[in-house]
Symmetry: C2
Subunit: 968 residues, 2 copies
């Protein structure tokens, strides 16, 4: 027990910095943390005071006092020789009678810093106290229990950090307002470095979109060094030079030449690099090497060969290494980012040796890069993993580029980060993890998670499957929320991120979710209405507390905004369809589009003005309606107003069908509603009005085995009941098996009593204004079906991947279910995830039971996560067997032409967040066993959909809803 603050007594800090630059600065920040809690800032002393009962000691493992005085009292051996490790000890000062010491001892500077921030968090200072207004609670006394004592592990990943990128207009305009320029100054970077270190990161790629880290302010680089942040730079910024420096400097410095080319201007470029290295040599850097074109482009013209590119790159790297060793030797390795096309140079091709076999790079970190959409690309194989330099991963939570930019909100579910980054780790990507966090704001949760995963893989990594909810819950609790609030917040955050994971807001279109099939758009809307309700209710609970702002930023704002944007686009989908069908109800959705636009805008304004405008500008990037990769041409959906005819007009449609009809005398068209007692015993039709006046109609049908109810009442409609409708009414039709007379079909007729007058109006009986719906009935004989199985309905069987009948482990692996993964429910992935199961007998398998209504060929669509192959230019295969027949190999990406970051099939995959692999299967009538067997790593199965041959596949964004699971 350590009385840090009690009865007005505040423990001072003794800092033994042993000459380590920056320890004083960081201890000062720690002292401020204590002030945040207690209201008083402790003294930072050079040596132990004699008269204090409680003293905090900060030192390194090789500090004199530790080595000489504490050695008999505490065991610091677990820290010795480690990096970025710390111990927290509580003991009586052997040298000062009655003095209690709380010692934070680091293996090195960052170790000590992490130790201090560990205590900060323990006393209630969240890493997000500034960036997410996780307001620190004041305490009149702070007493630490013994359980504060611990010795940390070494971080799992050596370099862990984030990349501030694409910072206009949000972070940039914010910086300008708060600090005078969109180019961040040291005061701004101090907040950023602090956040990084509190999250136990150590590595930063600074903003470079519209600023130059060192060129703008040498103090930025000095401060990073002082605080212990290892500076890097992004993939195309070698030798401590930010991306735009050359463009700026070549104008004023003739020595650098004009061209960013190592062919035509090698001497100038060399000078440029050299000067950068000299300038930054005294700071701690993980120097980026390599070379790409300016502004994220190719290095050489389009007609250059692979070999040309590799050769010039090699030349540049050799020169860079020469310069580094001469002017900026460092304890850290160098880093080559295999971004976009550079991966090709790394692998080479059949005739061209790639960089991967070039020993010059053996000791450097090969920074792999995802596809910009958070799907890792090629991962190292066994041989590559042996290279001492190791591998890194450049990952994205934010991206500006093709096929759509996402610069705004958190669209990264933790389950996906877990799935992808644990796979990378298992494949040996452990040297450096960096993530593009855009403007920092809005990425708070995934950023915490990414750095925690990198810091403590044992706790959160591969073996910690399905712990992301626990993580999120903890995270909210650590921000200061009570458990009950944290739990609901976790649920709401999951909900909005899952919406974004189905499709990024910027990529949503009016036709994304189907207006008709699966009632997809309308059901999505229903879910979002609930979400809105829940977040409002929870916000009411939080309002007025210290965490109101924090909740607003992390939960309320994103949930409400994402809900508004989805509602807007879903409304546009329904609006379009209703206009096509000529239903007046279209106009309710046209209005809804408008009100969503207003609502979303109001949220932005509220975010900017709340909290005394602290976060002004932070949501000012466009969120929606990108017509291309860029927000320059962003468009809201159009509000289409259907202009009704002057009388009343009947329009009828059956759910899940594009078809619709009016009560036409001349061009009578019968609608169909195919039902089945077992697989689909209910149907829905909509009676809508396309006219100005209220529509009067009657509904009649034959047969007592059909029950019709309107959406407004559970009481069945009587035959020939009359109704009035201004807009539209939905009717549910239900089969009643016990009253069935064996008829194969019946007809529901909707008669118009006051329809519009048209040219064929007649006094004759022969032409009655009405709509006919033919209801056909199937009755499956399931008496001999022993196993539970999914029943075909209307030619389709759909199964969530997690709903397998059996999971069969092999000696070499097993399938595991990743909960809350992907677009619908969960993902099934084979483990170990580094394994490739070439042989059928080695492969873990999943078995699904399906019931086919007839012997026929079926198309099986396998929905899988939009992963990339872990092998360069590889596949994403799995095996499919029907009823223990021969294994069919299905590739969930096209066999040819799939190229992460540039092919159309890849684009579609990351926009739709799905890959669909397809095969043809011959099924027998009745029960069939379908077995999926693992082959390639990185395949995560989400859904299986069977379509009977001859049935037109009914398009929908999420795929058909799951079929009825029949059990005896």
């Amino acid at each position: 027990m350590f009385e840090l603050y009690k009865d007005g007594c505040l423990a001072p800090i003794v800092l033994e910095d042993a000459g380590v630059h920056g320890m004083k600065k960081m201890t000062g920040i720690f002292a401020e943390d204590i002030e945040r809690v207690t209201g008083r800032k402790p003294e930072v002393l050079g040596e132990f005071p004699a008269d204090e009962k409680y003293v905090i000691y900060v030192g390194l493992v090789d500090s004199q006092t530790v080595k000489n005085e504490f050695v008999n009292t505490i065991d610091v051996s677990p820290i010795e020789g480690k990096y970025e490790t710390y111990g927290i000890f509580m003991f009586k000062n052997p040298d000062v009678e009655g003095q209690n010491v709380l010692a934070v001892i680091g293996s090195d500077k960052r170790g000590a810093v992490y130790g201090m921030f560990h205590i900060s968090e323990a006393i209630g200072v969240s890493p997000w106290y500034f960036w997410a207004d996780a307001r620190v609670k004041k305490h009149s006394q702070v007493i630490l229990d013994d359980d504060i004592c611990m010795v940390s592990k070494e971080p799992s990943v050596r370099y862990r950090g984030f990349f501030i990128n694409d910072e206009q207009p949000c972070l940039g305009e914010w910086l300008k307002e708060k600090y005078g320029s969109i180019r961040p100054c040291p005061e701004a970077y101090e907040k950023i470095f602090e956040l990084l270190l509190r999250l136990k990161g150590n590595y930063l790629w600074p903003a470079m979109w519209r600023s130059d880290f060192t060129l703008d302010h040498i103090e930025n680089a000095q401060l990073a060094d002082e605080m212990g942040v290892i500076m890097g730079a992004s993939h195309h910024e070698p030798c401590c030079r930010s991306g735009q420096e050359f463009q700026t400097l070549r104008k004023i410095n003739p020595r650098y030449g004009k061209d960013w080319s190592f062919l035509s201007n090698a001497a100038g470029i060399t000078e440029f690099w050299k000067d950068g290295l000299i300038r930054n040599k005294d700071f701690e850097n993980l120097i980026t090497i390599g070379m790409r074109g300016e502004n994220d482009s190719y290095l050489m013209p389009a007609d250059a060969t692979l070999e040309d590119n590799i050769n010039v790159l090699k030349k540049a790297i050799l020169k860079q290494k020469e310069l580094i060793s001469e002017y900026a030797p460092s304890e850290h390795p160098q880093l080559l980012a295999l971004y976009k096309e550079v991966e090709d140079y790394y692998y080479g091709d059949e005739t061209t040796v790639g960089l991967k076999d070039w020993e010059v790079l053996d000791n450097d970190i090969m920074m792999l890069c995802d596809d910009n959409f958070a799907n890792v690309r090629t991962l190292p194989d066994d041989k590559m993993r042996k290279k001492p330099g190791g591998f890194g991963m450049y990952y994205h939570f934010d991206y500006f580029g093709e096929p759509v930019s996402y610069l705004w909100i958190n669209t990264s579910p933790l389950t996906k980060i877990w799935e992808q980054m644990t796979m990378a780790y298992d494949f040996g990507v452990r040297a450096a993890w960096i993530v593009n966090v855009g403007d920092i704001k809005n990425q708070e949760l995934p950023l915490s998670y990414f750095l925690d995963l990198a810091y403590d893989f044992d706790k959160w990594g591969t073996e910690a499957i399905n712990k992301t909810e626990e993580y999120t819950l903890d995270w909210f609790k650590h921000l200061g929320f009570e458990k009950s609030i944290a739990k609901k917040a976790m649920k709401l955050v999951n909900a909005y991120v899952n919406l974004n994971a189905k499709r990024k807001p910027e990529a949503l279109r009016p036709d994304t979710y189907h207006a008709v099939h699966e009632n997809e758009a309308m059901e999505m809307l229903d879910g979002i209405f609930d979400l809105n309700y829940e977040v409002d209710a929870l916000f009411d609970e939080v309002k007025g507390t210290e965490l109101e702002e924090c909740f607003y930023q992390l939960v309320y704002y994103p949930v409400k905004s994402v809900a508004a944007i989805n509602t807007m686009q879903l409304s546009a989908s329904i609006n379009s369809n209703y206009v096509r069908q000529g239903k007046k109800r279209a106009n309710e959705y046209a209005d809804l589009i408008k009100s969503c636009i207003r609502r979303e805008r109001k949220l932005v304004e509220e975010f900017h003005s709340r909290n005394n405008g602290k976060w002004n500008h932070m949501q000012s990037v466009y969120h929606i309606g990108f017509t291309n990769w860029n927000d320059e041409q962003c468009q809201y959906p159009v509000s289409q107003y259907y202009n009704p005819v002057w009388d009343s007009r009947l329009v009828v449609s059956v759910a899940d069908q594009e078809d619709f009809t009016g009560a036409h005398r001349w061009t009578r068209h019968v609608l169909n509603m195919p039902l089945c007692f077992q697989s689909k015993d209910t149907g829905v039709f909509e009676v809508a009005n396309g006219g100005e006046k209220d529509l009067h109609y009657r509904i009649d049908w034959n047969g007592d085995w059909l029950q019709v109810t309107s959406e407004f009442s559970d009481n069945p409609v009587n035959k020939n009941d009359a109704f009035d409708v201004e807009s539209s009414i939905f009717y549910n039709v239900k089969l009643l098996k016990d009253k069935w007379d064996g008829s194969e079909a019946t007809v529901i007729r909707i008669y118009v009593d006051n329809g519009e007058v048209v040219a064929d109006e007649s006094e004759n009986d022969g032409s009655i204004a009405m709509v006919e719906i033919k209801v056909s009935v199937a009755d499956l004989d399931l008496t001999d079906v022993a196993e539970p199985c999914f029943l075909e309905a209307n030619g389709c069987i759909s199964i969530e991947a997690g709903h397998f009948a059996k999971a069969i482990a092999s000696a070499k692996g097993e399938y595991r279910e990743i909960e809350n993964f992907g677009k619908t429910r969960s993902g099934m992935k084979a483990y170990p995830q580094t394994g490739r199961f070439e042989k059928e007998e080695d492969a873990p398998a999943l078995v699904y039971n399906v019931y086919a209504t007839e012997e026929s060929e079926y198309t099986l669509n396998i929905y899988a996560a939009p992963s990339n192959p872990v092998v360069y230019q590889g596949k994403l295969e799995l095996g499919v067997l029907a009823n223990d027949g021969k294994r069919t190999i299905v590739n969930t990406i096209p066999d040819k032409g799939f190229e992460p970051w540039k092919s159309n099939s890849w684009r579609k995959g990351v926009l739709d967040q799905i890959h669909i692999g397809t095969c043809q299967l011959q099924l027998k009538k009745g029960l069939n066993e379908i077995k999926l067997t693992a082959i390639d790593p990185a395949v995560v199965i989400e859904k299986l959909v069977f379509w009977k041959s001859g049935v037109e596949e009914r398009a929908s964004y999420l795929g058909p809803k799951e079929s009825v699971l029949w059990r005896k």
Copy 2:
């Protein structure tokens, strides 16, 4: 001078009916006409009163008094032996001292009736006094001058009449309200017969859409006979039986059998026909013979051969003729309508002899039929014309069927009726003319014209070219309008009918007129705005006069309605385009669509309620938005609302180009404005706002030879002038030759001062928000061009057909210009219109001068009226020669597959009201002489459009506007 009514003395009528049935009835109507004028009804006496100074005498040429008493006083020889002829004579009664006689003497009953109605008109009773409320002016005295005296000619066409058709819901519901049933009763028919006779018609096809003329009321047939109307029936209603009679009677009369088939039910059908003939035998009928399927369908199943069809038709006709001669012999011939497919049976094919060579029909009238869209089909050749029975024409002002029904307003310009019907007449179609007038209402003018043309071809026919305006002016004057009003009314009626002639209202679509090319939609709108203004102004002059209702029905209502409907669809065109371009101005047009719908509806309600509801229901058929041939699925255009972005947003487009752009930094896109000093020295660009807030911008450019003016001022814009815009502003760009520095191009730049903030916002100068328009300049060297010629601009030369340089007559014919014809200006047609100019030297020709900017191949599109060939399965060819090269033959319809009333090429022709024939021509640089030479009859050329090879043809509905005509 005849004092019909003076000082309270009213001349009585002496009717000497000589036992002619109906003379009394008709004289009674004449007496009522006099009452309409004088307020007193004259006595109708059997013999001359002794004490009257003025007596009107009505008799026939063979009346006793005429033959015996008047023979020495007046010369009735010009009437003797004629049909439907009358003389009006003024003389002293030889038998009664001091008695002045005004004698109306007919060659026959109808002659006498026409004579009486001639006087009625002369004293101010318009044929339209009832049907168009041409209110009769009361006079306190009526004195007739000698010039009332005249002897009429025999009518040019023997049977002249109209067909009441498709009468639901307008005329039908009106009849129901006024007379108790949609099936017209004798009281209703009396009004119809009266109208027919006053218009000097004699022949009627009665309503049969939902009624049965004789079956409903035998009194209908009796009344027709009494009043002197010869009853016929439409193409599929043989033997005095209306279309639905069989369907009604077969239910109650087993003798008739069940099937409408002369194969399976010949006996029943024969009985049915026989009974019809017996029933109507005593009335004056022009009996329709032949047989088609029920409800306007084919007679035999689809797999029947031509020969099968001809044979069964022959059998039926033989039986009909047998029945007619036995049960209903008549002075009139019979009539066979060659409607739709029956034309094929008439002509037969290479292996099958058609009805045309079947002598059984030699003495009957072959009723040819147009294509239902007022374009005549095959016309008789020399041999056919020799048949004694002669030919008739069934023409349409109203049609229910493919490809779009037109049941509402007058869409038939008199110039087109003149062109088509004079051609028919010249080809010998003179026995019977009948026109489908739908509900009568709305077709007042063309109906008058059609019957006047048939009655007095000498006055209005082929030689009376370009007299339709004179006709219209006279028509309005005869309705009672003063000349100045009549002139303006004529102009307004021409204007709305011309709009309808470009495209029928029912067939208008939002994409009919091009929103961009030729600024077509906007210029149409401008014209319609003027039209609205003019009709409002004129209505103000007429309001409160006796003719207010008449004006409302004939001018105000149709002009306003047609204007509203066109405005609605044109607005939809512009709305769509503005939405596509993301211009906020879109919403003004979305509103306009809505207000047009309301306005059009209000006009219908006003029409129905005015005039004490006299014409209630008459406009109740749908007028607009047919999605198919039928009004059942009619749709108004959708009002699309563009939802603006929250800041301001610049959107710029150049007139006549689909292209547009915003001020994009990343995706900069330059607009082009190609100009030429001679052919196109002005251009227009639009600066629009796509955002919520007002847009501030500046316009700048290089070069003093460009003058820019905004739409709001003639004062030129200064370089770098700043503007504000809420919605959009148009700018005119003009080349100033005298200031030209010889540059080939310059750039207009529109800089945004307060644009939206997007992700690439920058403090750097490199990315300025602006739009660039590249203005390129051409300067043609025309010094050596001697002739006036049309100049190419942007790869196109467009010429109105009437703007030929020379018209070259041949020995055999000449081209004449039909003014105010077709879609744009006038039509050029070769006369005599029966002539075919096989040989080049025989052909009349037109020469056009065009200036080509370079030697190149050009596509020449020849726009021609949507005529049909006068030869069965013939062509519509003309010859084209460039610079006296070889004649190229151009067919303005496809060489194969063009079939009037059923092929897609025909459908497109009647919807678009144009045929376009195409050929390739090699032009030299500079002046070219293009000669068109006549070949086939029925070709009416409206426009010539040349497109240079390689230039994309810019689609527009009316074709490109005429090019600049250059003169030295």
